[in-house]
């Protein structure tokens, strides 16, 4: 019989990220029970995720009771910046991990006093691909792009564009100095996701924040 190999094909039919998905559903149920609206903020390194949250937290002071989870590869710098504007911040150091997973969110939430919290921002690791496929138990995904990244970023990252509940285009104050084709960018987004709101903002000047905060208020009401 030597040299003969018998093979058996075993049908399995399971989701590969089933463990993460189950943890995410647990997080989602816990947040819903507490009445917390959770944002998963996804954008490239340098797109302005932390700056967006700083400017947002600043404007929400006295109006909402937010908490923040911030994923970072190696440093505490983002967490320290955000702690100026919010007293409930947990830094999740992901080491070399390129995205957050639901178990990390669950564990980080366990470190927070969530009494009274009504809004949770989760700043994902700077990356336009990996984080999209991992459910964190969020209520909405925010896709953050910026003028300095180039106008083809949306077309090159269709998963984020199709998965996003709102697309923010940051650094619009730099438009006079760049050759960013905003109409082309928005056409690419529209082709992939015809109904998603596209909001131009500047985390530096505050331009466009009325629309962004309005979206946030309506979505989390």
């Amino acid at each position: 019989m030597s040299g003969t190999v018998r093979t058996t094909r075993l049908p399995i039919a399971e989701r590969v990220l089933e463990v993460n998905d189950q943890l995410a559903e647990g997080v989602r149920a816990d947040l819903a029970r507490r009445g917390i609206f959770a944002i998963d903020l996804i954008g490239a390194p340098g797109s302005g995720k932390t700056a967006l949250l700083e400017a947002t937290l600043q404007r929400l002071q006295g109006r909402r009771r937010p908490a923040v989870l911030v994923g970072d590869l190696a440093t505490r710098r983002d967490g320290d910046r955000l702690a100026r504007w919010c007293d409930r911040v947990v830094q999740i150091s992901t080491g070399e991990g390129c995205h957050l997973e639901a178990g990390q969110v669950r564990d980080a939430l366990g470190q927070l006093d969530l009494d009274g919290v009504d809004l949770l921002f989760i700043e994902n690791v700077g990356n336009l691909i990996c984080p999209v496929g991992f459910d964190l138990g969020q209520s909405a995904k925010v896709g953050l792009f910026s003028l300095t990244e180039g106008d083809d970023k949306a077309a090159k990252h269709p998963y984020l564009v199709t998965a996003a509940d709102v697309i923010l285009l940051n650094k619009i104050d730099l438009a006079p100095y760049l050759t960013f084709d905003r109409a082309g960018f928005e056409a690419d987004v529209r082709q992939l996701n015809p109904t998603v709101p596209i909001l131009g903002i500047s985390a530096t000047t505050g331009e466009g924040f009325d629309a962004w905060l309005g979206w946030l208020e309506r979505s989390s009401a």
């Binding site: 040299g3 018998r6 093979t7 094909r9 039919a13 989701r15 990220l17 269709p158 998963y159 082709q191």
Partner: protein
């Protein structure tokens, strides 16, 4: 962990497959189905699969990827077709067909080799087959 999403997926997949490996089995093939939205690069995925399965009972197994394509719908002539990329012109000249795709990421099956009693180099020692194999036979 390398900064590629294929690595994360390969890692999760290997953990999952290992839960299903029978005690006497060597895994010959693992089959997954992946929606185009996942943006999986087959060559990168194969490399990551080899890396994460090294020194495990899955070492040397072949990863078969059924990548579900984009579906493009032309708003002008109504034609619907499959495409590996989301942006493509229609034959009627329309430059903005609507792309849609799925994001499934499913472990479909695995194929286990049962070798007849031979000592082999694999990390899982070949045991006496239980006679349950019925799916196929091939010369090695």
């Amino acid at each position: 962990m390398p900064d590629v999403h294929e690595f994360s997926i390969a890692d999760a997949l290997a953990t999952q497959v290992l839960r299903h490996v029978p005690a006497h089995g060597r895994v010959h093939e693992v089959e997954i189905r992946v929606g185009a939205l996942r943006g999986l690069e087959p060559a990168a995925m194969e490399m990551c699969w080899d890396a994460v399965t090294h020194d495990t009972p899955l070492a040397g197994s072949v990863l078969v990827m059924d990548i579900r394509p984009w579906s493009l719908t032309c708003p002008t002539c109504g034609r619907v077709w499959e495409s590996p990329v989301p942006f493509a012109d229609c034959t009627c000249g329309e430059v903005a067909p609507r792309p849609t795709a799925t994001d499934e990421l499913d472990l479909v099956s695995m194929t286990v080799e049962d070798e007849d009693g031979d000592e082999d180099e694999g990390p899982v020692a070949a045991a006496t087959p239980d006679g349950g194999a019925e799916a196929g036979e091939r010369a090695s």
